[in-house]
Assembly symmetry: C2
Homo-oligomer: 209 residues x 2
């Protein structure tokens, strides 16, 4: 999979970064004391990535939860025939992580790359463990977050099996209207589980209507 001309860049840029966004996403679900906020933000590692950079690479063991502060990431799976399948796009406010790799300490089958210049926070797994041990309110936050994520995942499974490609495309447009404007169509096709050629046909058919 090739994005722009940028090659793999392992030199992350560390910077000061605004934590308002991430805190407001958390306090939408739980209430935090100033102490909890302070400790939480002290664990975050802010990183700037450029379009095309890898954030995680398949084959390596994942050690971080990732939160997108601005920009957009894409997580994809490369099958044995070397075909890529986009699993998720993550825009501002989203979390992403390979939970299997993270919890089982096994090498990941997913890669995550930046689709645009992005600001992200990395939260190391061991820091998260300290966090929830010390402040159980974060246990609740992640419980709620995973619970909501499960709803989305279940809907995607239902759709994969009961919707046509065209219906999945319509749903995608409704749910993520901003994404289509800057994500290359081939990645959208991959996310929908179809070829770029077939997405092209669907788009033409819909234009003609």
């Amino acid at each position: 999979m090739h994005i722009s001309r940028n090659s793999f860049n392992s030199t992350f840029i560390f910077v000061a970064m605004d934590t308002k966004g991430i805190l407001s996403h958390i306090t939408r679900h739980v209430t935090l004391t100033p102490e909890e906020r302070e400790f939480f933000t002290s664990l975050l590692i802010p990183v700037n990535v450029k379009q095309g950079d890898f954030v995680e690479q398949s084959g390596e063991v994942t050690t971080n939860f990732i939160h997108v502060n601005s920009g957009c990431l894409m997580t994809y799976f490369t099958d044995p025939s070397a075909n890529d399948h986009v699993i998720q796009f993550s825009t501002a406010g989203w979390w992403t992580a390979d939970l299997h790799s993270l919890t089982q300490n096994q090498s990941s089958i997913y890669s995550t790359r930046a689709l645009a210049d992005s600001e992200i926070f990395m939260l190391p797994k061991i820091r998260l463990e300290e966090l929830v041990d010390r402040y159980p309110i974060f246990e609740r936050f992640f419980r709620i977050m995973f619970q909501n994520s499960l709803v989305t995942h279940q809907q995607r499974i239902v759709q994969a099996f009961s919707f046509t490609a065209e219906q999945r495309y319509e749903y995608f447009q409704q749910k993520y209207p901003q994404l289509e404007q800057f994500v290359p169509l081939k990645y959208i096709a991959s996310y929908l589980g179809i070829t770029p050629e077939f997405l092209s046909k669907i788009r033409r058919k819909r234009m003609e209507k």
Copy 2:
């Protein structure tokens, strides 16, 4: 969808039921004090259901988490064309719930029925809220359970888009070897996202090898 000859049975049978199984599943992930065990089990509503009975029906608002103590349940989605799609089989030790209906108080799009006579525990949502408020260790338990469930859901999405029907069938046989022996093939086909006719063809092809 029709299972055996049993008709809808809304008269659940309440009985004493062994809580060893459910407690051992929980203590695999977290350690409980005797007080926590006691309080937790006091919230559970044991129910016996017969093969074919509905446990939850689409169109109604879900109010319970469900844990299977013995037997087997099936959760399915009925699409606008009245075709059923099996989402999950739940055997002993599994939890099931429509999290969307449960958290948003909206009517469920899923139905859950017993594929065999089963013993289940129902945990009302409001009781769960009391539980996690009082004993945060259960917040952790459900966080871990949802986290693990997400891994499984993610794998199913990957497979839906990158495996052929035959590969999905092979994976299903490996992962749930006991299920094929008593679950009607048409439900397995539905779970795999194919027609019973096509599953038949796959099975024949594999027999000939």
